[in-house]
Symmetry: C2
Subunit: 209 residues, 2 copies
């Protein structure tokens, strides 16, 4: 499917075909594609849980105001934004740059200071925004990749975040910006007309607000 | 271009062809496509400034640690996350649902309470995260739409946010999660190999963290 067509035809699907499943490999392929999203300083502050097991999906549904799609979708991804990704990933990122010849070894120490300055300390608002924005880029690529592969999706933020963290063993300091149901549309599904979008003339300004 | 190919070949381009421009209509088309992104409660908490004018791009470059790509790209978009979008857009969103027959008129008042409960008060962390995650979904779709239309892009969060707000007349309460340069690759550009990505085995867990 062409990119523009995928963007135009991607819809948030409420009714999935609960008889269809996807494999761990297919879930992994979606994550691999989503990982090609850009991120601040290439720090990739995202982690994902693919909830495939029926009993685990039932628990997740319970955390998400009992929305049936959480359970009916082939997989529901828990998208996790990790404010601690600077500390967690910076050394690897820089080592890989040295390896690729895009960063000189003698510049590693000074380069390493930059994201700590830009994204401040772990508990700051800046750091939380850093994590959430990048995890959301990742989530959008995942949804468009799904569409490109013939799958449908539905992002949700209607869930009890503390309960999701507890049930799925997610460390307290992580942020769960959304969960994303992915699967096949129910054969009975009749798509409603696309929900209203604010007109470009209202969203877009030129050169200044 | 196919969706999966766009995802695989989208790269953050450092060197744009500064002799090439894009029109206001083309910038508007990208925003129209990006607006098809899903958003929490369909509240679309995003606003965009397309900086096309050379003198304005120079100013934006000055706010962004003097990165040449800000000025060399055909357009640089300032992506704005609006925490006030609940108050700003809820009445229109619900009226459009009633108009489309997807919401009963008598349910408008009770439905209207939901996003205020979910996304809390305007100044809360929850509300800021709400705005940033959705504006980032928008930004990712914009970048993939650009790729699908033969354009390149580069998202940046290396800029002085307060200065951008001041220079571009953006209200204080808005958040600027990123700016996105869009244009054509410089003919001299030789792409480096793609930057390291964390392996799927590290990013993805099944059923629990």
């Amino acid at each position: 499917m062409k990119t523009i067509e995928a963007i135009k035809t991607r819809r948030s699907i409420n009714f999935f075909d609960s008889t269809k499943s996807i494999t761990k490999e297919e879930a992994g392929h979606l994550v691999e594609l989503a990982s090609l999203s850009p991120s601040s300083f290439n720090l990739q502050p995202w982690e994902v849980i693919a909830v495939l097991d029926p009993s685990r999906k039932k628990i997740l549904r319970g955390c998400a105001f009992n929305q049936p799609k959480v359970e009916e979708a082939s997989v529901t991804f828990i998208i996790i934004a990790n404010p601690g990704a600077v500390e967690q990933n910076i050394d690897t990122i820089l080592a890989k740059q040295v390896e690729a010849g895009t960063l000189k070894k003698e510049h590693v120490e000074s380069t390493k200071k930059m994201p700590f300055k830009m994204y401040q300390e772990k508990e700051s608002l800046t750091r939380k925004i850093f994590a959430v924005k990048n995890a959301s880029l990742f989530a959008m690529t995942l949804m468009l990749a799904a569409k490109g592969l013939g799958l449908e999706s539905h992002p949700m933020d209607g869930f009890d975040s503390d309960r999701v963290k507890k049930e799925f063993n997610i460390p307290e300091e992580m942020i769960v910006p959304m969960i994303v149901a992915v699967g096949y549309a129910s054969p009975e599904l009749k798509l409603q007309s696309r929900a209203y979008r604010r007109p470009v003339s209202e969203v877009l300004r030129f050169d200044s607000f």
